[in-house]
Subunit: 334 residues, 2 copies
């Protein structure tokens, strides 16, 4: 690895490269705070998830935002670890909720241990994240992250009630997406600016960037579920359809459905009576109404919004990487 950033590399890899000392400090902090003297089950469960790694996009947003705003202290490490803990906790709780067998190609924690461990270790991580952010001594940061936590939980509950419900609107979908993804992206970026103590316009820009990036990312993810390279998402084609989740390609197709098509959606999504060939039928209705293209242009619009937001921030190679990241999350669907 070199400190020189390669502008042809993937933007999250360039960010990881640029921020590698910061990321190493965050990793140390995570490992230290995961430890539990009395309950060794805790690091066992979390190591499984944290080691699996993922791209660490959320902590990098915090680190990049803080650095881009000229921050020189070390509270950005605490906040980056906070954000990763919150993310890991929600993954643990999601695993219980979805009874999903796989995440990132590895068996989920709840199959290796049990539901109860997933819930309680998730709670422990929430508590740990809360200790970490309190240690920054910034009430504004606590405010932002408390609000994000509430939006995340509310979005997850909303997703529950929206599942298998054909009345789900694009508006509700957007709220679910904010809860699932964008709220933590937005908070992660925003708190980086807050601890750097920059002006309101820059903080607002970071928040808007994170929010729009998260929405673009999630819409792209949902789009790929109905077509495209599933290795990118780690899911199987049609998972959302089988799980009767209403995402944008289907919400839009339902809105345009004629009577026969509506009967089809009612049977497969509302009643959950799915048969051989139904996924193909769903894909052909989606194709017929062109809702993949419409969904794609939503995602591209949010990606543009994310990039535009960056303009008020200082010119800096980190800004370029963040901008490229907004392109990258939609590149897989372009």
């Amino acid at each position: 690895m070199s400190l020189d950033t390669d502008s042809s590399g993937k933007p999250h890899e360039r960010l990881a490269d640029f921020l590698r000392d910061d990321l190493a400090a965050v990793d140390r902090l995570i490992r230290e705070r995961m430890a539990s003297e009395h309950a060794p089950r805790i690091p066992e469960v979390t190591a499984h998830l944290v080691d699996a790694g993922g791209k660490r996009v959320r902590p990098m947003l915090t680190l990049a935002a803080a650095r881009l705003c000229g921050y020189e202290g070390d509270n950005h490490h605490k906040l980056a670890a906070t954000v990763e803990f919150i993310h890991t906790a929600t993954l643990l709780h999601d695993d219980v909720v979805d009874e999903s067998g796989q995440r990132r190609g590895r068996p989920t924690a709840n199959l290796l241990w049990d539901n109860k461990s997933s819930v309680l270790v998730g709670d422990y991580l929430f508590a740990r994240s809360f200790q970490l952010m309190t240690a920054t001594g910034s009430l504004k940061v606590l405010d932002i992250l408390a609000d994000a936590a509430a939006t995340i939980a509310e979005g997850e509950v909303l997703q529950l009630t929206a599942a298998a419900n054909l009345a789900t609107t694009e508006d509700i979908y957007l709220k679910v997406v904010r809860g699932k993804t964008a709220a933590l992206f937005a908070a992660a970026a925003e708190v980086g600016g807050v601890i750097a103590d920059v002006d309101e316009a820059k903080i607002e820009a970071l928040r808007t960037y994170g929010d729009a990036l998260g929405i673009a990312f999630q819409i792209a993810d949902d789009l790929l579920d109905y077509g495209g390279d599933t290795t990118a998402t780690g899911k199987n084609l049609g998972d959302d359809f089988r799980e009767r989740k209403l995402t944008l390609p289907v919400i839009k197709a339902v809105a345009k459905a004629d009577e026969d098509e509506r009967t089809f959606w009612q049977r497969t999504i509302e009643k959950g009576d799915q048969r051989e060939g139904d996924l193909d039928q769903a894909l052909s209705l989606i194709a017929k109404h062109g809702t993949m293209d419409e969904t794609r242009s939503h995602a591209l619009g949010w990606s543009s919004k994310a990039k535009d937001a960056l303009e008020v921030l200082p010119g800096h190679e980190l800004r370029e990487m963040l901008s490229d990241l907004a392109d990258y999350v939609v590149a897989r669907i372009s």
Copy 2:
């Protein structure tokens, strides 16, 4: 109900009577913060828990501590609601059924729904509690509650790993008890003193009181599981034995077991092979070694410690009620 306190009534009822205006304000706050514009399932799930009421001991500890320390603002309402939200969230997460540990098949839709709601609504309440305490603007309060949340979660995980494990010591038992009960009692009382801005000795006294009260309460509860009036606990005699939980009467009996007795405990608790008459056998071993009496004297010791701690606090009828409460939690086993 009258504002006059009746010194012959139960102490939690006298506290509720004395604090009724405060409690009404807390109830309003809870109802307001439970509301979710987008996810009506949230107040639905929480309402029955909060309405069921319980004795509201935790929020009353906060309110009583604040009043006893002469507090005049309204942050004690926020903190009392915070404490009740945290308690309700842990109850919801405790309800999560451990199905994947028990069986491989998919749970019934109904069971899955219950798990989903319990986890996510619990998370929402945690987030709401976090917003509420942040609104007090006191970093010290945040510190205390973040630590309590971590101790609670750690204790719950520890309880999972200690179950069915004959190597569980009295030390581990105490940590589990702190996580289950005493940590939140201690934090609830302590934050009342913190917002009243009294000196360290009084804050420490409130913390010690809450901690010792919680431990006394929990030991008494565990004792009643092996004898006494089960209507007080809402459990059936021997529930802990059947669930292979190691509580003080059994931990002490295991420590004194001869070889045959040890074989009995290994079969029933470690292996979970329980037969007709085993509970009676367990009860007779507990009687033989006199571990009910030993457990009782532990509980009484913690109750005394709670009362002693109150001495540095101002003379006040609330102090008497708190002292009587420490007697009351062990009265059912005396």
